[in-house]
Symmetry: C2
Subunit: 174 residues, 2 copies
Amino acid sequence: MLEIEVKVPVTDLGSIETRLVGLGGVFVTEKAQEDLYMAHPCRDFGVTDEALRLRMDGNAQVLTYKGPKMDARSKTREEIEFSVPMEQMRTVLERLGFVKFIQVRKVRKEYVLDDVLVCLDQVEGLGSYVELEFSGQDAEKGLVRVEDIKHRLGIEGNEIRSYLELIIQKKGEM
Amino acid sequence: MLEIEVKVPVTDLGSIETRLVGLGGVFVTEKAQEDLYMAHPCRDFGVTDEALRLRMDGNAQVLTYKGPKMDARSKTREEIEFSVPMEQMRTVLERLGFVKFIQVRKVRKEYVLDDVLVCLDQVEGLGSYVELEFSGQDAEKGLVRVEDIKHRLGIEGNEIRSYLELIIQKKGEM
């Protein structure tokens, strides 16, 4: 299974949502998502290429550790992920000397249009984005489907940086 | 609610169990318990008076953080405790630089005799112990009840050190 994911910065989510519904998009869910990246008390994750993240996705609360990339060519990393009570896990990590590094907060509305998941993201401190996700065997077909829906929604562009990278960059510019 | 807890080193758990059953002790459960104390990558918990413990108690798997004692007189500590998948949590902690400090493993058989919980503990590397626990409002009554049952079981003594302390001490002597 491949996943094609394209992110487009937009100015007005409301009008895109109206158009999406007009095209037959089916509402799936609306949820708050919060990603809290923690810094290590005596190790620079930027240098070691690791990450420790607490994620609240609707009601789901998850701890994720991402290890360094295993080789230069692929992006393969060790990833360990499991459910935790987020507030308690955060407090334990803070008692152990971990500190909040970056917080990514968004409100996400999900629609399905044909075979594409269309996410309308309002990202705190960054603005509005539409994220289109196609899952399937055929990458070529996925790209065509995503571009078709972008066209029908009247949006263009492709932000390849993650919200985390965008927020880090923005903080660096301030 | 007060808890009176008395631990007695013994040589033969089998004969004590026979006597316990003869006195009307009711079998509750038998389970393996494992406490894994982790050391911090850049902080000496012995100095800061903290502890980070992963506990497997039968099927329950729990992470516990214990903060330093809050004042000299009382033994009050912050204690944060919640369920985790033990193996995954241990792996994440190890990736973050925490290492195994001490492991306390025991097989515990629990009986109830009158209002006292009687635990028959076989502790790896330490030997056999009977732990008697009384929970109630009346400390005086609890102590009397516990001493009475010790007498009826034909055991004596009172080991005030925890299994953790006993193992640390034994390691120091080796």
